[in-house]
Symmetry: C2
Subunit: 364 residues, 2 copies
């Protein structure tokens, strides 16, 4: 791995690190960031690691007005042998390119981006939490920087990677959440941007989330925007069901984000000999399964929580309690298996981990 | 009108003004901008006019990641008596508040915002173009500035107004454009953010626009995301049809932006005794009307072009030529009437104009 192309400029004033005992998600950022610039006709250039600092943009920059921006989210874990472990980072940069394409933004070089991330992690190694359950959240993102009010793809962009030490999603262990099935608002529709990890999808979700929170629910479950019958996602996670012994998840359809945790669960279950069926799942089917006692488990999947078991679904004012509101056996088994692969406690038998040794040598 | 609350800090280095003969839309910006800050619990504060300068934001600012941003677009015209005229600016600030609500962002005080705009126009009066057909494009926008990677409404925001001198949309007079009816991509769906003027709607539209442009069409016509049968908008404009003598436009349905030019045309036609029917308009109806020679006129409406006549629609590879590809009588009449009210050539009989005299006294 060559690093000659990445210029490194270290800060003179390191920040005090937050207390690892009570890290809040997404509030603390490390001392440095990775940046690269794109100019149409010249490609990506000036890959660099610089002190974490404000971004200075013309007020007419396209990102402020027309939302040309995409992002990714992944985590670095410190294993017991002090090596630094990343979970399938190449999948994040592959998906970043898919999102960039949907938004008419330039492709990145996935290998270079991963190299940039690994270099940044070496510089920020001290920021990777040591407390069990904690990790370093990684946020790559690309923004359109051109100052132009015409509605057209920008000709200049910046690619950033910033890092944030975060606590475990579950302060007191994995526990099930209450979910409100959303009938009024729609996250995305076929032909839109739901399959891309782009800002607009999250902006449009806030209103429903606000309503759900005010009613005591932690997330909403999104239905399809066409028939309002089929399950799409839950909050900003993918969703799985165990119905009468069968594990099912909504098939990728153009409006659902193809989660990397989702993909990993499908692969892990196949590896265990428990195939997952990817198909349409209607609310009617879920209600019927619940009535007949066959809705055994429901869980969301994503980078932040890994597995988020659902203890209660509210649909049109009717409550479906799932597995007596406690975490199901499959949910727990998947959570344990994935987190132990991520942190190095279990063997990486599916070759998912990119690892840096304590001496910073890439050991994958 | 009191201006005591707006702090004014003028620049020492004024820019050279661009040549009015060949102004490109959205490329040139004036010497100053209006800014106000919002902090949750404290409301909007620090309303100020400052030199036009880059915005400096933490890389974790919510606008970059989750797209909490809304905007408006309107124009200031210089009339022959040198007064400065705004077309229904109170409608823009009213709609800005509707957009802010959809995005879980704080409401602005509409009167204060208009006052801020008028003060800014006084400071930048020299920037309002003198050449007939030119105008000063006004872009109010609000962005979420909090540095936080949790998916939640921000607690801090900034409100900006920037100004850009622009040329006439039609360099050689009003002329019809070719439009591709979009079957693959969808701009917005009921339950989403299509009714709000927010970045994500524009980001999602770029891909279809790119395809249309590559095939020689200037815009796409969006169909509804549910049945893919009914017309929604064209490009980033509303759309009107004259079918067998009846003027129709798609009814506001939650996914169509409620344009101020659209509204003004409906009101103007009612004032003339020619009512507009707001209802669903299907592509089947348009094709049938075209076949029977009853599709008399088609035109888009928006702030930039005012009226943009459509000379050709392509739907599923079939071309419908409209009014022999020339501008229809109604399109022309509406264009002339609206632009003459905007520039002060015709009487403002519907009380749409907010005007500043050459001595900067508000005269409405």
């Amino acid at each position: 791995m060559t690093t000659s192309k990445i210029e490194i400029n270290l800060t003179n004033s390191r920040k005090e690190k937050p207390n690892e005992e009570n890290l809040v998600f997404g509030r603390h950022f490390t001392d440095h960031m990775f940046v690269a610039d794109y100019v149409k006709g010249m490609g990506w250039q000036n890959a660099r690691i610089t002190p974490y600092a404000p971004i200075s943009l013309d007020p007419a920059s396209i990102v402020f007005h027309y939302g040309q921006t995409v992002f990714e989210g992944l985590k670095a874990y410190r294993s017991k042998d002090q090596s630094i472990r990343l979970f399938r980072p190449e999948e994040n940069f592959r998906r970043l390119n898919q999102s960039l394409d949907r938004l008419c933004m330039p492709q990145i070089d996935e290998a270079n981006a991963l190299e940039g991330l690994l270099e940044l992690l070496k510089v920020e190694e001290e920021w990777i939490p040591k407390l069990e359950g904690n990790s370093l959240y990684i946020r790559p993102f690309v923004i359109a920087t051109e100052a132009f009010l015409g509605v057209a793809p920008a000709t200049t962009y910046q690619f950033y990677i910033i890092l944030s030490p975060v606590g475990s999603y579950y302060e007191e262990g994995i526990h099930p959440v209450k979910i409100l099935v959303e009938n009024e608002f729609v996250r995305a529709v076929k032909g839109g941007t739901g399959g891309a990890k782009t800002a607009g999808n999250y902006a449009s979700a806030l209103k429903a989330q606000e309503t759900a929170s005010s009613q005591g629910y932690s997330q909403v479950m999104w239905l399809d925007g066409v028939e309002r019958k089929y399950v799409e996602e839950v909050g900003s996670m993918n969703i799985f069901f165990k119905i009468d012994g069968e594990v099912v998840t909504p098939a990728i359809n153009g409006s659902i984000l193809e989660g990397i945790t989702r993909k990993s669960i499908i692969e892990l279950l196949a590896h265990w000999g428990t195939p997952v069926t990817e198909r349409k799942v209607s609310m009617d089917e879920l209600a019927e399964a619940h009535n007949s006692g066959k809705l055994e488990e429901v869980f969301g999947t994503g980078t932040a929580a890994v597995i988020s078991p659902v203890g209660e679904l509210n649909w049109n004012g009717k409550t479906m309690r799932i597995n007596d509101g406690i975490t199901g056996a499959l949910s727990k088994k998947l959570y344990d298996a994935l987190t132990k692969i991520q942190t190095g406690e279990n063997e990486d038998s599916l070759n998912w981990i990119t690892s840096l040794s304590p001496t910073y040598e890439e050991i994958k």
